[in-house]
Amino acid sequence: MASSAAVVERPVGAVSGRAGGTLARGVATGYLSLVVLLPLAALVWSSRSHGLDSFWHEATRPEAVSALKLTLGAAVICAAINALAGTMIAWVLVRDRFPGKGAVDAVIDLPFALPTIVAGLTLLTLYGPGGPVGVDVAFTRTGLMLALLFVTLPFVVRAVQPVLLELDREMEEAAASLGAGSFAIFRRIVFPNLLPAILSGVALAFARAVGEFGAVVLISGNLPFKTEVSSVYIFGQLQSDNAQGAAAVSVLLLGISLGVLLLIGAFRRWRTRHDV
């Protein structure tokens, strides 16, 4: 989404120091603490309330480890496919011209707008048992991948599109006039300019894929050691009254999310440095 490019590098105005600014700041941070921080603090606290040994025991259960491995592996593959397909789609939407392009551009946002459970159901309808194309990927890792690719589709496209739009065509024309082929132009000129945007999009897609639940829950079948991802594992532990086990794995996922956000911050600084 375009909004992901937003950064706050420095304050523009100077209302600080006045009563209104202080009040706004207090209200804003208070709301954020109550809605976001307090629950997460409770999670971290609960996961450690029985000691580090118990945390470690819960986090390294074979089923939990297997789920986490599958989650990370699937998210890496999903991110890699998105890097390719997302860049290709963004390229076609910016540089190509064909009837109905506006509609195609609008459709990219659909996975953001469509509830994830509906996304899972739609994929199961087409690629599940008794589907019209004769493929059945229900309860397989292929089905899991399809669900992840569906919900993460917009991230790379929406990150790359604005950068590609603003990219100066003169450099490419100069390269072409000097005899560079179209692949060489892409590799040497376009790609280096797009890379920070691609990486930001890929990182968001990765984080989303790691945490996805709604789209996955119907199509993957949630078979332990086979198609059960971490989010589904957490849900299962909670259902079977093992909040401790659920919290331990959740803290690991929280750590991954924070790490990805730090990475995205680094990509953004890289991009702004390249702009100047």
Partner: protein
């Protein structure tokens, strides 16, 4: 030239093919499935008592979470862009967190905070039910849909700068007048865009709400939860009909996003 045209067609085919296989065909098929036994069947399915209640509850939760996140989103954006205070970078990072965090982790966190033995678990003893009730579902929805308004408003606030606001203040306008007359008109499209994204997420949220709702049929079941419940109890027509309602809301969202696109508005 021949090869460049060929590669252009190949790229176009690849991109459109990917979208068709992954996105378009499945969504179109759900519409077909919902109406394959006639419009009357689908209508009966979405007007069943449970479905109507689920839709009402979904809209009620959105009606609380969206205004809250809109108002606080604008305030947060103002504080982030216009203020300079210690921990601003941290606040900025926390705002993004719901975008990168699993909804199941969100749900579990609320469950641990408000559940038995949790820091705020005492409310239940005083007759205030948060978990397995609407307040918990509202809190979960607020958490997951928090970043959207902030993220849309921040870049616009940075772009417009403070000159006009300072001019208004010099002319004697109160902070509230300045906000209403100068700042608000400048950010209104960004706010609208953010509100559309927030609403879509609030209506569609599944994982976080699933954990805190307890999924009590006819009481704490939102429309996305209803879809899963119907599908798992082999009432596929009911699941498809409810899915179509949600898909239509999603299509309306996509159209609204086109209308409110703030990037083109400001430049």
């Amino acid at each position: 030239m021949m090869s460049s045209r060929l590669s252009r067609y190949a790229l176009r085919l690849g991109a459109l093919g990917y979208l068709a296989v992954l996105l378009l065909t499945p969504v179109v098929l759900v519409f077909y499935r919902a109406f394959e036994h006639g419009f009357g069947h689908a209508w009966d399915a979405v007007t069943s008592h449970a479905a109507v209640h689920a839709l009402e509850l979904t809209l009620l939760i959105a009606a609380i979470a969206v205004p809250a996140n809109t108002i606080f989103g604008v305030v947060l954006a103002l504080a982030l862009v216009r203020g300079r205070f210690p921990g601003r970078g941290l606040v900025n990072a926390i705002v993004d967190l719901p975008l990168a965090l699993s909804p199941i982790v969100v749900g579990l966190s609320l469950f641990l905070l408000y559940g038995r033995g949790g820091w705020l678990g005492g409310f239940a003893g005083h007759g205030i039910k948060i978990l397995f009730a609407v307040p918990g579902m509202v809190l979960a929805t607020m958490f997951v849909s928090l970043p959207f308004v902030v993220r849309e408003v921040v870049p616009v606030l940075r772009e417009i700068g403070t000159e006009q606001e300072q001019a208004a203040e010099t002319l004697g306008a109160s902070p509230f007048q300045t906000f209403r007359r100068i700042t608000l008109p400048a950010i209104r499209w960004a706010v609208a865009y953010g509100v559309v994204l927030t609403t879509a997420r609030a209506i569609g949220e599944f994982g976080a709400v699933s954990v805190v709702s307890g999924r009590i049929e006819g009481r704490t079941e939102t429309l996305p939860l209803y879809v899963q419940a119907q599908f798992e109890s082999f009432d596929t027509p009911g699941a498809y009909a409810a899915s179509v309602v949600l898909a239509l809301i999603a299509v309306a969202t996509v159209v609204a996003l086109r209308v409110f696109h703030p990037r083109e508005e400001t430049s």
